[in-house]
């Protein structure tokens, strides 16, 4: 006999008879429509408006948004800090290049394989999270990232050479991964990246909405409560690391095909720290916060460069941003900015609405 039937027999089970409430509230529909319009604009309008240079920057923004989303999942949903995500991005790129040059696998399969292998490394980096938390976990992941960087610095990124490392000294320094046939030029590749990035966001959303999301929320607030609910904490913590690393690895594959190949200089270890700052500024809990983080990590530096401003200005911006978020907008800019705009809108509209209501009163 089910609980509902038992409860029903006592007369308190009337809730089961209530017609099921609509699963999607009005706010959710509006939100989804907003996202759809935003993505469609990016997809159809943006490529026509900008040069190839800026389109490549935008491709990077999408890539780093997904990397930031992985980090935001770890920090915001599970409560684990990882400072190894940029190294995992480099690793994903390496794997994609290596397998791409060695085989003729189609691009989507290549992304999948790069994601899965990077996911495996993500789990290894995440192992200390089973015992450590907070600052210690952050330090350990940072060290692991440094180790990956040092190895990649020695091995270089594959450029079509032979052997396990796939690097040939006589060949050109770097070589890009062959792009998929349907996305040969910069415009098409940007759209391709947008679709893949969208799929990664969808994957994360499905996780958060479902069983893993509930388990993560429990782990984040109270591990004893999660245990008492039957949550296998080890499994779900490692799953979070695997998911974040998978998404990062897939984007590593995109990055390997986006420009003229990869060098370790593109993946400074400390960028994981500024990415964390960017994620805090954007907001660790919402999905749009990850996009803000991607913009801060890739678009803002390019703009600074364009305006002939020193690149270190970015770090100062990040410092101010993190302070501002900690003090006044704990949910991050992605949540705070629309609120501020709405407030500004009301402020501007106030004199007009007041006048009209005063006019009505006079009549």
């Amino acid at each position: 006999m089910s609980v509902a039937e038992q409860a029903g027999s006592t007369g308190s089970g009337a809730v089961a008879a209530r017609p099921p409430a609509s699963r999607f509230q009005r706010g959710t529909v509006l939100h989804a429509a907003g996202i759809a319009i935003f993505v469609l604009l990016l997809f159809f309008v943006l490529p026509g408006l900008t040069s190839n240079y800026w389109l490549q920057i935008c491709t990077q923004v999408v890539v780093y948004s997904v990397v930031a989303l992985g980090l935001a999942l770890l920090v915001g949903r599970v409560g684990m800090v990882s400072l190894g995500q940029i190294a995992l991005l480099a690793l994903g790129g390496w794997v994609a290049l290596r397998i791409g040059f060695a085989t003729g696998l189609p691009f989507p399969i290549l992304m999948l394989v790069a994601g899965l292998i990077t996911g495996l490394f993500g789990v290894i980096i995440g192992l200390p999270a089973l015992r450590l938390g907070g600052l210690y976990l952050a330090l350990i992941t940072l060290m692991a990232a440094a180790a990956i960087s040092i190895v990649l610095q020695q091995t270089n990124f594959p450029n079509g050479g032979s052997g396990f490392l796939g690097y040939s000294i006589t060949g050109s320094g770097t070589a890009a991964l062959r792009r998929p046939d349907i996305a040969g030029d910069t415009e098409a590749f940007f759209r391709y990246t947008l679709v893949v990035g969208g799929l990664m966001f969808l994957l994360a959303w499905l996780h958060v909405r479902g069983k893993p999301g509930r388990a993560w929320a429990a782990i984040r607030q109270s591990q004893p409560a999660a245990l008492a609910g039957g949550v296998n904490i080890t499994l779900y913590k490692l799953w979070a690391f695997a998911l974040a690393a998978f998404m990062t690895g897939v984007m590593g594959c995109i990055l390997a095909a986006s420009g003229g190949g990869l060098t370790i200089l593109q993946f400074p270890t400390q960028e994981s720290i500024s990415l964390l700052a960017a994620v805090f500024i954007g907001g660790v809990y919402g999905f749009s916060g990850a996009i803000v983080a991607g913009v801060f990590t890739k678009l803002v530096p390019a703009l600074l460069d364009n305006w002939n401003l020193p690149p270190d200005l970015l770090l100062i911006l990040f410092g101010v941003g993190v302070l501002q978020v900690l003090l006044t907008a704990p949910q991050g800019l992605a949540v705070q900015f629309p609120k501020d705009m709405a407030r500004l809108g009301r402020l501007i509209a106030r004199p007009f609405t007041r006048k009209s209501s005063a006019g009505e009163a006079a009549r």
Binding site: V3, A4, Q6, R214, A217, P224, L227, G229, I233
Partner: protein, 239 residues
């Protein structure tokens, strides 16, 4: 029924539980004792947060210590906490569904089971999509209890569910607790300092003091026991 044999827990030189032997039959059973008597440690041992030094717990013919802690929840061991642990970020529905989905059975009737559990504790007047973070202390307690009874619980451990609640709300709570064994078929062990709640809900009560069992039996008798009164009030003279 659950049988505890020679259960000892040791932290360094301290023995929060010292060779405890208790048997709880079906129904709602009380476990009381002054602060530091070992009640919460007892719950922590059963749910696997603390490893015992020696002893055995057999619940419904199953050796509890043979299962890893997250398996115990799947088997039907549920508990609530002294400081309430409803997950704030999740909705009422998701809080309870979280336990149901890790239980792993009855996937098909999840919605029905979860709403049934919420109804059972008396939260059916709220929208199940409400985030638990906005609820008051009483409702959060009830969410925790709904989590403990969803699915097929066998052994429900309630750690001071009435702590911090005003009297009139404790009455509703007592009603819910009393009906768990009857409607869910589970054995309930209740730890609380609220003696009227214990008297109202428990037919059998055991008393711990400094890790040792000092009395067990029908609740009314136990509460008149002079050792128990002494444990609570210090000395008999003060009576």
């Amino acid at each position: 029924m659950i049988k505890i044999e020679d259960l000892t827990v040791q932290f360094g030189g301290v023995k929060p539980l010292d060779e405890v032997n208790i048997e709880f039959p079906v129904g709602t059973c009380g476990l009381i004792g002054p602060n530091g008597a070992g009640k919460t440690t007892f719950f922590n041992v059963l749910s696997g947060f603390v490893n015992p030094r020696s002893g055995k717990v057999v619940a419904f013919d199953q050796d509890l210590f043979a299962m890893p802690h997250y398996r115990r929840a799947r088997w039907g061991l549920r508990r609530t906490f002294q400081t309430e642990q409803a997950i704030e970020e999740l909705s009422l529905y998701d809080n309870v569904a979280m336990v149901h989905e890790h239980w792993g059975e009855n996937r098909g009737s999840r919605r029905e089971d979860v709403l049934g559990a919420l109804g059972f504790v008396g939260l059916d007047h709220l929208d199940p999509r409400t985030k638990v973070g906005v609820l008051d202390a009483r409702d959060r307690r009830l969410v925790e209890i709904a989590r403990a009874v969803v699915g097929k619980p066998r052994l429900v451990l309630l750690d001071e569910p009435a702590a911090g609640l005003p009297d009139e709300e404790t009455e509703h709570l007592a009603g819910v607790i009393r009906s768990i064994p009857e409607h869910m078929g589970a054995l309930v062990i209740l730890v609380d300092h609220d003696m009227s709640l214990v008297q109202n809900t428990c037919s059998i009560t055991a008393v711990l003091d400094f890790g040792k069992l000092i009395a067990a039996g029908p609740t009314a008798e136990v509460l008149r026991n002079e050792h128990v009164i002494k444990a609570y009030l210090g000395t008999e003279e003060e009576l």
